[in-house]
C-alpha cells in the first residue's frame, strides 16, 4: 500500500522527520504513538502534501506511484485520506456541498460520471448512520461551530463518504467521549477491508481496544524507533517513553 523510506522533512530550516521508514500493506492497521512534538502530525501532513514542508531526502511509494510527485489533490483522489488533528472550519459551505464537490472531483479524476443527486443523498444517509452523525450536522457548514467531538466524528463521516485506500487518522480519538470513541471506532472497523489500510496516530492505548492494530510503532524524534505487536501499546501506557529514550 505505502512504503516510506528514509524520509527527511524540515520546516523553516528545522528538520522534523529524520530518516523515517514505514511500510503498511493492504488490509493492515498500524498505530503510531510517540511523545508530543515527535513529528506524528508532520508525517501526516507531509504524506498529504502540505507545501510548507521541504522534503530533503527519502521516498514514498503509494500504490506503486511516487507519492511525493503528486499534487495534494491527486494524492487524495488516488485514495489517501487524512483525518485532521484539528479539522478546519469553512464558513458558509455546507458539508454536503463540500463532499459532493470532493466526490465528483475524485470521480472525474477516475473518468467517472458525476454522482447523481439521488445516489449522493442515499450515500449521505448510509454513511452518516454509520458514524451516527446527526443529519443536521451533515447539512451545516463544514465544521463551523461544531464541538470538538463533532468535528472528529465529521472527519470519519467524510472518510466514509470518500472511501479511501489509505486513511491516516491523526488523534481522531482525542476529544471524544466514551460513546463517541466507540462509535467512531466502529465506523473505522466497518470500513476496514482487505483492499484498504489505515495508520492510526494516538496517545491512548484505549483507542486500540476498539481498533485493533496489526503493528504499533513508536515515533520518536523524527524516526520510527520501535515497532511491535499491539501489546507494545500497553507497555507504553504503563511505562511511558523514557525507557525507550534510554534504550536508544
Amino acid at each position: 500500500m505505502i512504503k516510506i523510506e528514509n524520509l527527511h522533512a524540515s520546516i523553516n530550516g528545522k528538520e522534523i522527520l529524520k530518516g523515517l521508514d514505514l511500510e503498511v500493506k493492504a488490509g493492515e492497521v498500524h498505530a503510531i504513538m510517540g511523545p508530543n512534538g515527535a513529528g506524528k502530525s508532520t508525517l501526516a501532513a507531509v504524506l498529504a502534501g502540505r507545501e510548507d514542508y521541504e522534503i530533503t531526502a527519502g521516498s514514498v511509494t503509494f500504490l506503486g506511484k511516487d507519492l511525493l510527485d503528486l499534487p495534494t489533490e491527486d494524492r487524495a483522489r488516488e485514495g489517501l485520506f487524512l483525518a485532521f488533528q484539528y479539522p478546519v472550519e469553512i464558513p458558509g459551505v455546507s458539508n454536503v456541498n463540500f463532499l459532493r464537490t470532493a466526490l465528483n472531483e475524485k470521480r472525474a479524476y477516475h473518468n467517472q460520471e458525476p454522482i447523481s443527486a439521488k445516489d449522493f443523498m442515499a450515500l449521505v444517509r448510509e454513511k452518516s448512520a454509520l458514524v451516527e452523525l446527526d443529519a443536521k450536522l451533515a447539512s451545516r457548514a463544514v465544521n463551523e461551530g461544531f464541538s470538538g467531538g463533532e468535528k472528529k466524528r465529521n472527519e470519519i463521516f467524510q472518510m466514509a463518504m470518500l472511501d479511501p485506500k489509505l486513511a491516516v487518522l491523526d488523534e481522531t480519538d482525542s476529544g471524544l467521549d466514551i460513546d463517541a470513541l466507540r462509535i467512531v471506532s466502529q465506523g473505522v472497523n466497518a470500513l476496514k477491508s482487505p483492499e484498504n489500510a489505515s495508520i492510526v496516530i494516538t496517545h491512548y492505548q484505549r483507542l486500540l481496544d476498539y481498533i485493533i492494530p496489526d503493528v504499533v510503532h513508536v515515533l520518536y524524534d523524527g524516526k520510527i524507533v520501535k515497532s511491535g505487536p499491539k501489546e507494545l501499546a500497553l507497555e507504553l501506557e504503563e511505562r511511558g517513553y523514557d525507557w525507550i529514550k534510554e534504550s536508544l
Partner: protein, 482 residues
C-alpha cells in the same frame, strides 16, 4: 510535487482574462462628440421629449457645469474627458421588434454569449427581460401579462411618451440633479433606461430584469431607472450587465431611483460585471452610479449587489427611511482583482420612528486591487428607536491588495441602537489545504470558500441570479487551470 502558493494563486488571478469580452457589430447612430447645450437639445429632440424634460436636462446641465468631480473616494484614475465622449448612440434600426423572431440574429448571438438566451428565460424562469443595447431598448417581453395587472415595465423613453405624468411626478424626487457631479451629468444627458410602476396592492408575479450593455466604442452610458411601488405593492427587480472588451475607458454614470410608498416593498438586485480592464488595469469601465431609494411608512427597500467588474467603481446604493417602521437593507459582495478599484457601500438615513437598517458587506480583494467599504448610518432627531446593524468583512487574497473600511455614524437621537462589526482575514491556507486534501482542486477550493464567505449576500438573490453570481465570482477569482 505541487507547490501552489498564494503567490502563484496571485499570479494566476492576474492572468485571468475577461471571459465575456466581445463586441457586437451593430450599426450605431451617434451624435457628435462633446457636451454643450446643443447636444442636449439634440438628444431631447431625437427622443421627441416634452418641454418639461428638456428643461430638466438643461437645468441639470447648468448645475453640472458648476460642480467638480468628487475626490474623496479611495480611488485613483485618469479623469474622463467629458468633451471627448459621444452622448448618444442608438442602434440604427429604429423599428421596434414585434416579436422575438424579428430580433436581429446578431443580437440574439450576443445574448447567448451573455448566457441569457431570452427564449429560455421566458420559458423557464418567468423573467421578463428589457434588454438595453446601448441606449435604446430593443426587446421587451411579458409586457402584456404585466399590463393586465396594471404593471408598467418599459424603457424610460417609452415611459416619457406613454406615462409622462408618472415620470414627471417621481423623476428626480429621490436623487435631484443637484445631488452630485455624476447625477447632474446623468440628468443632463441620460439617454434611456427602465421604468417600472407597480399599482396599489399589486404583487408583481415575476422578477423584472434588465440587462444593460455598453456597445458602441466611446459611448458613455447614462442610464436612468425609476421604480415606483405604490401603496402595498411588491416588486423584485434584477439588473445585470457585462460589457465588451475595450481599449479606451468607458464612462458609466447611471441613476437609479426607487420609491416605495406606504407598505410597499422593493427588492433591487444587481450583478455587475463591466469590463475591469486588462491586467495592467488599462481600458476598463468607470462605473459611477447613484442609487437611492425612499421608504414611506412601513415600506421596505432592499439592495443586493454582486460587483465583480469595472476598473473603477463608485457606488453607494442608499435608503432614506422617511416613513415610520420602514426598513432598509444593503447586501453587497464586491470583488476586485488586478488593478481594479472599488469604493462602495451604502447610506442609511433614518428619519422616521422605529426605522431599521441592515448592512452586510463582503469585500474580496485579489491582485493589486483596492477595495473600500464606505458606509454612513445617519440617525436624525425624530428617528426614535432607530436600529442599525452593520457587518463589514474583508477577505484578502494576496499581500499586494488592499481592503479599507470607512464606517461613519451620525446619531442625533439617543434612543438609537447601532451595532457595527468588521473583520479582515486572509484566505486561509489551512482551508485551502483541507479542501485539497479531500481531492478538490485549488481553483474549486477558492470558489467554494469565497462563495461560502459571501453566502449571506448570495442568499438574498433570486435563485437563477444567485447561480449566475456564483459563476461570476468563480470567474473573477479562479486561477487558470495548470
Amino acid at each position: 510535487m505541487s507547490n501552489y502558493t498564494e503567490n502563484e494563486l496571485a499570479k494566476d488571478l492576474e492572468n485571468q482574462e475577461y471571459k465575456f469580452g466581445f463586441v457586437t457589430d451593430i450599426e450605431s447612430d451617434t451624435v457628435p462628440i462633446g457636451l454643450n447645450e446643443g447636444v442636449i437639445r439634440l438628444i431631447s429632440s431625437k427622443k421627441n421629449e416634452p418641454q418639461w424634460l428638456l428643461d430638466y436636462r438643461l437645468k441639470a446641465y447648468a448645475v453640472w457645469q458648476e460642480m467638480t468631480e468628487p475626490e474623496w473616494a479611495h480611488v485613483r484614475y485618469q479623469k474622463p474627458d467629458f468633451q471627448g465622449i459621444s452622448y448618444y448612440s442608438a442602434p440604427k434600426q429604429t423599428k421596434k421588434y414585434e416579436s422575438w423572431d424579428d430580433v436581429d440574429p446578431e443580437m440574439k448571438e450576443t445574448m447567448k454569449k451573455l448566457g441569457i438566451s431570452m427564449e429560455e428565460q421566458q420559458r423557464l424562469t418567468g423573467v421578463a427581460v428589457d434588454f438595453v443595447m446601448d441606449s435604446v431598448s430593443v426587446a421587451t417581453s411579458f409586457k402584456e401579462k404585466l399590463s393586465e395587472l396594471g404593471i408598467i415595465f418599459c424603457s424610460f423613453s417609452d415611459a416619457v411618451q406613454e406615462h409622462p405624468e408618472l415620470v414627471q411626478k417621481y423623476m428626480g424626487t429621490v436623487i435631484p440633479s443637484t445631488d452630485n457631479f455624476y447625477a447632474a451629468l446623468n440628468g443632463a444627458v441620460f439617454t434611456d433606461g427602465s421604468f417600472c410602476y407597480i399599482p396599489k396592492g399589486v404583487r408583481c408575479p415575476m422578477e423584472l430584469s434588465t440587462y444593460f450593455r455598453i456597445n458602441a466604442g466611446g459611448t458613455g452610458q447614462f442610464e436612468r431607472t425609476l421604480v415606483v411601488a405604490d401603496e402595498g405593492a411588491y416588486v423584485s427587480y434584477l439588473e445585470g450587465c457585462t460589457a465588451p472588451q475595450r481599449d479606451e475607458n468607458q464612462l458609466h454614470a447611471a441613476v437609479v431611483e426607487l420609491i416605495a410608498l406606504q407598505d410597499a416593498e422593493i427588492k433591487y438586485s444587481t450583478v455587475q460585471n463591466w469590463y475591469p480592464g486588462d491586467k495592467e488595469g488599462k481600458g476598463g469601465v468607470f462605473n459611477f452610479v447613484t442609487k437611492r431609494g425612499i421608504c414611506e411608512n412601513n415600506a421596505k427597500i432592499s439592495w443586493t449587489q454582486v460587483e465583480t467588474g469595472s476598473a473603477v467603481t463608485w457606488k453607494y446604493p442608499s435608503c432614506i427611511l422617511k416613513g415610520d417602521h420602514s426598513v432598509g437593507e444593503f447586501y453587497s459582495v464586491a470583488v476586485t482583482n488586478n488593478h481594479q478599484q472599488a469604493d462602495t457601500g451604502t447610506k442609511m438615513v433614518h428619519l422616521g420612528k422605529n426605522t431599521k437598517s441592515t448592512i452586510i458587506s463582503k469585500g474580496i480583494s485579489a491582485g493589486k486591487s483596492q477595495n473600500s467599504y464606505r458606509g454612513l448610518v445617519q440617525i436624525h432627531k425624530g428617528a426614535h428607536n432607530a436600529r442599525n446593524f452593520s457587518q463589514c468583512d474583508s477577505l484578502l487574497m494576496t499581500d499586494e491588495c488592499g481592503a479599507h473600511t470607512f464606517p461613519y455614524i451620525e446619531c442625533k437621537n439617543p434612543s438609537a441602537k447601532i451595532e457595527h462589526e468588521a473583520t479582515t482575514s486572509k484566505i486561509g491556507e489551512d482551508q485551502l489545504f483541507y479542501c485539497m486534501q479531500r481531492g478538490i482542486s485549488e481553483e474549486k477550493a477558492i470558489s467554494l470558500i469565497v462563495n461560502g464567505y459571501c453566502k449571506e449576500v448570495l442568499n438574498q438573490l433570486p435563485m437563477e441570479f444567485a447561480v449566475e453570481a456564483q459563476k461570476l465570482l468563480a470567474i473573477s477569482l479562479e486561477g487558470s487551470v495548470g
